[in-house]
Amino acid sequence: MNTRRIEVPVLTRVEGEGALYARIEKKQVTDLRLRIFEPPRFFEKFLQGRSWKEVPDIVARICGICPVAYQMSATHAIENAFKATITPEIRALRRLYYCGEWMESHSLHIHLLAAPDFLGYPSAMAMAKDHPEVVKRGMHLQGLGNRILKIFGGRPVNPVGVRVGGFYRAPSRQEARELLELLQSALPSAEALVRWTANLKLPEVNRPAPFVSLRHPNEYPMNEGRLVSSQGLNIGAAEFEHHMIEYQVPHSTALHAHLQGQPYWVGPLARLNNNLDRLPPETATLLQETGISWPSTNPYHSIIARALEVHLALLEAVHLLKHYHRPRQAYVAIEPRAGIGMAATEAPRGTLWHRYELDAEGFVRQARIVPPTSQNQAQMEADMRASILESLDFDDEALRLRLESGIRNYDPCISCSTHFLRLEIERA
């Protein structure tokens, strides 16, 4: 028998439904398809005809795990279309809000989705039996991120506090003070988390490809900056669609994207690689201690990048809260006007770009959303091809694990584009 067919019914511990199919003939990968079969949910269409006021509540529902990113890209883009300017106080609050989502989403990904792979467990719950302190630490950090989100919007999934122009309500002094204390006392946990991820046994692979992220003149990018790539791209958000070209492939409900005809990477590792000089000193020191030479082209180092960003977000949140004064009003008044606005922000999984066309009363005429998962899809496929070629000697089970963990590293949020990754390998 010279044709082998391996079928793994589900790729677990990702957000959404998908499958990977690979065909190997004479040591060549003759076909490889990352299929995403999250049913289409048509958000761009639903936004049409809705008022600017409703947009933050609609887009939050694209993805349960990163509603903040959707709300931030959308509000920025709409403000941009209305030529509205926000105040430094609101800007600071938005950064604090985003810190909450990074802490929550990254901690969840590290502990519940990715880490069990490197320690040989099927789940964090199973891992917790042998490593209770590690899992509890992770959940504590996740919980602190959630705590920030609850202050702004009552709940971490689909929070209700955001409006175009700012927030409905600013945290009270009391809330800020309590939060500050909690966050400060968690700094040692975040440091320990970085060291722990750096000591994990991660596969050593090398995947040079352009890293794309935002870049800001003097801060680590979250909600603002120019779009840059490790290969010289440097554009404003308005130019995004001229460089990042989306196309549909028959095997997936999520679109693919190319930059200059090539796959590219977005996400925590790309962000870190492009912004090593924007880290706060404490985080930079931790990064050095990892002993890895940065920038890194090993996708598995994403878990370390996530841990670093948890640390950074925690530090930043502490800093912001120390200087917090409750603004009298947490939003600026908005005057709708006809226009087109575009904005990109850094979702935990990578650059998220929105474009809105609005009429004079502020009703959406057209919306376009490019989530990180579709941007990474072509790169994920390229990475899986390379992984198969490197691991031809692996038996089917080991190869399957390698590919699954490889995909999980990109943290594809398939719902924002869902939850079965069905994996089939055919060897001829």
């Binding site: 529902r61 349960g64 504590h140 999934v157």
Partner: protein, 273 residues
């Protein structure tokens, strides 16, 4: 007594409802000790086959394959509990039920023929018998824990059906409808969230779905009194729970061209100009 074997299944959704489990944080570990989490794709690679004692189902039915899958889940499970707005009302994606499905596909995809989706996005109750429903987008963690406790105790889960307003009053929130003139849907929306929006000093947009017996017409007339157009009122009802019968009908009522409703409270000449 042996542990309950539970499963969590996902359909068309944002994953937010299952995240309510993952966001239980350390309590998730306690839960994992008290029940046997046999099948939960997002949380574990260890996938146990049915039968299950309880299946939680998230998301709405939106592809032909999903109809088959929910029927199988029903067969394999002693109890099936729908969680969230997608599962109990068709979700925000049911907004497509109001339009032309073909046109939507074409607007989003260059090659719509590759996409397999049903014309309507529907709640599970349209396809199978359910043992309980937990409403909300996402459902509230407090209600979810209460339900888990009821299931472990072997009693029928209780989900309250009163309106958000009552929670608001208990909490001492300032009423955004009366005090601020915001078009709050709280009076006709089911309780459960903890009156989050009024607490954030904003109007409720109905993400827990219709409360049993709420007067959507009277509230619409109140919104007219605030200066909203019938079109805007239609949009208020046609939102997260657009396909739940009460809000579906309300949105249709306010859509029809010949409504002659007067605003509430009624406006005298010269007043409120």
């Amino acid at each position: 007594m042996s542990k309950l074997r539970i499963a969590v299944h996902k359909f068309a959704s944002c994953d937010g409802c299952q995240l309510q489990f993952l966001n239980l944080e350390q309590e998730l570990l306690t839960l994992a000790e008290r029940v046997d989490i046999a099948h939960f794709i997002e949380a574990s690679s260890d996938l146990g086959e049915g039968p299950y004692d309880v299946s939680f189902v998230e998301g709405s039915v939106s592809t032909p394959e999903e109809i088959k899958r929910i029927r199988q889940i029903r067969q394999q499970s002693r109890q099936v509990i729908a969680i969230g707005a997608c599962a109990t009302g068709g979700g925000i994606q049911a907004l497509r039920n109001w339009g032309q499905h073909e046109a939507f596909l074409k607007a989003v995809y260059a090659s719509p023929e590759y996409i397999d989706s049903l014309e309507h996005s529907t709640p599970f109750s349209d396809h199978i018998r359910l043992d309980a429903e937990l409403w909300g987008c996402p459902p509230d963690q407090g209600q979810l824990k209460r339900m888990l406790a009821d299931l472990m105790a072997g009693v029928t889960p209780f989900v309250p059906g009163e309106s958000v307003c009552l929670q608001c009053k208990r909490q001492g929130n300032v009423c955004v409808l009366v005090a601020k003139g915001e078009p709050c849907l709280g009076p006709v929306t089911r309780t459960g969230c903890g009156a989050l929006c009024p607490y954030q000093e904003r109007d409720c947009y109905g993400c827990f779905g219709p409360q049993a017996g709420g007067n959507t017409t009277a509230l619409g007339r109140r919104f007219l009194g605030l200066g909203l157009s019938p079109e805007a009122i239609k949009h208020r009802y046609r939102f997260i729970y657009n396909w739940a019968p009460a809000f579906r009908e309300a949105s249709q009522e306010w859509e029809s061209k010949d409504i002659t409703y007067t605003p509430l409270p009624s406006k005298k000449e010269g007043e409120w100009s």
